[in-house]
């Protein structure tokens, strides 16, 4: 039942992914350029450029998380500003991933709040948080393994569907249009992250680097205001890391706001506009990368080691 039968177009199937690929191959340069423009328009639709960059998008306010006796986050406050790439760094166990888990509703804060454009995420249901505009990738890749790459991304677009359940069951025109648009958009996102050539393959069959990029595409498909990347460079070679940094900058330039947790300092210092440093659940520094790396508290937290040498965990 999970075979991607691209030849089977019996019931109202979305356009076959392979057909799309084939048509791509047969395009000349001008057509290709036009197509690429369409792709980027589709990837970043009507992004909110009217709102001034630098205004607060996400406010983390006095966030405290305790698991039993362990305090994972202790009164942490920081802002994420619209249009920036914020790096969330710190030694292992500093509370970075916990912070992500609070932002996306996996855990609930013991106290404090987290506000996206003034709306509290602290008690919101997970799927509502996605609809409000926070999407994430995972430190350990968590794709829908039995689905194709394309389907994985389409699941992400579903968060933005407006058709009701009866509408979907009756296959009303709006539902059909949304389905078609979802596939087109998913395809565009796969091109955007550079893995469109494997769109029809099962997620588990993809190479590791593709899987990481697929997670990013899936998160972008939910049209997030804030994209949270949890160690996106883990397990990457140096050249893959450079390509990833490029992709992250491209995502930011398309109008998304990005928070990144990453151990690899080359990636962090290469892409981030601002850094927040956590240590044992407390925020110890906050500022532009050049200042933060010279901050004595930060240097101490990294056991005196230079930040540049603190690469992979």
């Amino acid at each position: 039942m999970s075979e991607p039968s691209s030849t089977d177009t019996s019931l109202d199937t979305p356009p076959s992914e392979e057909g799309l690929l084939e048509s791509l191959e047969h395009m000349d340069a001008a057509e290709r350029a036009e197509h690429d423009a369409a792709v980027s328009a589709s990837v970043a639709p009507e992004r909110d450029f009217s709102v001034a960059k630098g205004e607060t998008l996400l406010a983390v306010d006095g966030l405290t998380v305790r698991f039993g006796g362990l305090t994972a986050l202790d009164d942490v406050s920081f802002d994420v500003r619209r249009g920036e790439i914020l790096g969330l760094i710190g030694p292992n166990g500093a509370g970075k991933t916990t912070c992500f888990n609070i932002m996306t509703g996996v855990y609930r804060p013991t106290s404090g709040d987290i506000l996206l454009e003034g709306r509290s995420l602290a008690r919101m249901k997970r799927y509502k948080i996605i609809q409000t505009g926070v999407a994430r990738t995972f430190q350990n890749i968590r794709l829908f393994g039995a689905m194709t790459a394309l389907e994985n991304v389409v699941v992400g677009t579903d968060a933005r569907h407006r058709t009701s359940v009866p509408g979907a069951l009756l296959r009303l025109p709006r539902h059909r249009r949304e389905e078609r648009e979802a596939v087109e958009k998913a395809m565009a996102l796969l091109e955007f992250v550079g893995i469109a050539d494997r769109a029809a393959d099962k997620a588990t069959a993809l190479p590791y680097g593709y899987q990481r990029r697929l997670e990013i595409a899936r998160a972008l498909a939910t049209e997030p205001k804030l994209l949270c990347l949890d160690e996106p460079a883990a397990g990457f070679s140096a050249s893959e890391k450079d390509a990833l940094s490029e992709l992250i900058l491209k995502i930011r330039d398309d109008g998304y706001t990005v928070v990144i947790v990453e151990h690899d300092m080359r990636v962090v210092l290469g892409v981030t506009d601002r850094l927040v440093v956590l240590d044992f659940g407390r925020k110890i520094a906050d500022g532009i990368p050049d200042e933060v790396r010279r901050d004595p508290a930060v240097v101490a937290a990294y056991l005196g080691g230079d930040l540049d040498e603190e690469s992979a965990p």
């Binding site: 509703g105 799927y127 829908f144 039995a146 689905m147």
Partner: protein, 357 residues
Amino acid sequence: MPAPAGARRTRERVIPTSVLDLAVAHAAPLVVHAEPWINFDVGLLADRFWANTINGLAYGSVYALIALGYTLVYGVLQLINFAHSEIFVIGVFAVYLTFLGLGFEPGAIPNLPLAAIILDLILAGLVAMAVSGLAAVGLERVAYRPLRRRNAPRLAFLITAIGASFAIQQVIRIWRGSNPEGTIRLLPPSPVFTIFGAPITNLQIVIILASLAMFVVADQFVNRSRLGRGIRAVAQDPATATLMGVNRERVIMITFAVGGILAGVAALFYLMTIPQGAVYNGGFLLGIKAFTAAVLGGIGNLRGALLGGLILGVVENYGQSLFGGDWRDVVAFVLLVLILMFRPTGILGESLARSRA
């Protein structure tokens, strides 16, 4: 010591005679007053092969439709919804009461044009689909959702399912009594054509074709639609699915509704074949058979449920001819045990949630 030795000798004497019996039965079916406890009637099996096959496919289609409900819920919640058989029985009563409501009397032979009868059957089917679908959603709300809210262990779900099954069964018994309802047969089976000498009735054709059509719709729904994508996403990784914006509670509700609707269709076909089947505990054996079919094909796998249902229906019919009427259910469950010995995940294996990694 002497006693067991004696016992063994007695047994040794018994076994050859029964083997002899088998041999005699094999050569020519004995006409005896006392039925032998087991037959080995290859002649009857060969004679009735095609009749059994077609009849088995019709029965198997009903198993398959019910099995889909077990398999869908298992895929999403890893829960064996034992109360699903009662969702089916509720559908059977919905069909029966619709017949009554349409003015059909138990025992009477309706004298209506075929078109009117077909319309009435479709109406009863739609009522059963709606009632069973709503009952399944209601069951989920009342019995399972509160447990999920409290993160109850899986065992709590299981015992709740069994409890809900008995509770619904007993409520129906209190309401309608423990005797089967009267027979209302709208469409008497009549042979339409023969395959290799086996008469095929109009009912069998309708049931097999309509069940296959329902299966295709269900399969396309799960594999091709947005809601189905949500179901598969939750089946594969519930946590990630919710973090990608899938509303898990809604997916669970839809899954139960789809399972209930399919059980409603099965209820109509069942009552068309066995008009005296509306009884409070009518879902018990059928439910277990359907569950067996789901496990046989690979639980969590839609195509497995179809395949398992059809195989089970056909094989138990063969077994009935070969060994005698009482062996039908034994054959069904022995088949399950045998297949699970060689393929523990069922014939097609788990698929809705395969490669959970």
